[in-house]
Symmetry: C2
Subunit: 228 residues, 2 copies
DNA sequence: ATAATAAATGTAAAAAATACATTTATTATA
DNA sequence: TATAATAAATGTATTTTTTACATTTATTAT
């Protein structure tokens, strides 16, 4: 490998913009680099793609390394390839955005690995062009939320309608009317009411629901609009 | 360059899925390869990305080489990176989809360069994974047509409402009601009626319109829905 | 028993989408 | 110069969806 000049051949990297949702806020997963270059600086979760794996295989591999998670919602965002984007290598980065459920187990796993969650309002300087990637990814999820039920990827398997509303308010950055929101989400007919309540949010408690993937898949075939 | 094994380092290519619209049909630009490997086979317009250019610079360069056109609507589709996608190189391809106006000048230019337009219904076998790219690009433009006015990129600068309708019918693969289509498109308030008629389509002739990019840009800021 | 809290609910009005058939401007031809 | 032929242009009633808005309910803590 060291026979070649690092600026004379292409390196391919994958960077993951990993979003979570916790306490009513959308969060981004970053870590403090342990090694040079940029030791100590904040970075997205990423790695070089190996010659014997595809970009998507690489992204699955590093997501597992950093979070312990498999079968995560992850989609390609885009390619960052400016000649001077990385002073060390001639490296193009293929970015992936991922949505994960934050629970206590995940929180622990992530802390063990030296990663952490940042509130997406007020992301500090990250290395290279990673801030740009985050901005682009946020724009993308805002767009995609209009025709895909991505909200459900970020919530626990069981969630309440007020929780779902708070999440959509965070994605769209505006308040929604609770009566209209409830009416709309129920009319989509893709959530199932459970016979349990979550009482952490109020004395009355709110009914828990779960997402109906089967029904959603069926509807999707017919060109379904998820706008809320 | 030849010091390195072709399977031992990454090559980066860009492939362009270039769509046009002619005689009521959506067309794809392909060419017959003049050199090995795959001499004589049909291929998307593409090239290796040079070490000193970005992917987007490369795509602009090759689009110019093949069509003579600059300032074309072109967006990244996605990255194709299976380890065995290209038997010759360890090559990842970043694809771009482009929409261009087919006119007689372009037709000539393209023929001179040995490229040609294929009807998108019934694309023959293309090299490598290019068929997959075309399918993905078609899916993408169908989706994107719902919230961006991409139709206008494919039509001549001056077009009639029936022409626009035919184009959307080709994109969505379904018939639209002419009264409702006209009502909807006019309500969007982004096309300007001209005092000329196009009489190639009928004895009565249809009024020509042009797209109002300024108005569209303004509306876009407010989160505009282009669904037709 | 009462206060406090967030969850749950309904309705009327406005806007948008849909379904549907006739008239109009023009050219070619009888 | 009247007529036939052609695609363009037009209107309305109905249904569906979206919006705006205030009160009651279930539960816990005091």
């Amino acid at each position: 490998m060291d026979l070649y000049d690092k600026k004379d051949k292409f390196y391919v990297a994958v960077d993951c913009i990993i979003f979570g949702f916790d306490k009513g806020k959308i969060k981004l997963l970053v870590f403090n680099r342990k090694i040079d270059p940029y030791k100590g600086a904040l970075s997205l979760v990423g790695s070089f793609v190996r010659i014997g794996e595809s970009v998507s295989e690489a992204s699955i591999r590093i997501l597992k390394e950093f979070t312990g998670l498999e079968n995560v919602y992850m989609k390609e965002l885009s390619t960052y390839s400016s000649v001077d984007r990385d002073p060390g290598y001639r490296c193009i980065s293929v970015t992936q955005y991922a949505l994960i459920r934050i629970d206590d187990k995940i929180k622990m796993l992530i802390e063990e690995r030296g990663a952490k969650w940042l509130d997406i309002t007020g992301i500090p300087k990250l290395i290279l062009d990673h801030n740009e990637m985050v901005v682009d990814a946020l724009e993308r999820i805002q767009k995609i939320a209009r025709y895909e039920p991505i909200g459900f990827e970020l919530l626990p398997k069981k969630f309440t309608i007020p929780q779902l509303q708070t999440l959509y308010e965070a994605i769209y950055r505006r308040k929604l009317d609770p009566r209209n929101f409830r009416k709309k989400i129920l009319s989509l007919d893709v959530i199932i009411k459970l016979h349990e309540k979550d009482k952490t949010g109020s004395k009355k408690g709110a009914f828990l629901y779960k997402f109906d993937y089967k029904k959603y898949t069926k509807l999707q075939e017919w060109g379904y609009n998820f706008e809320i």
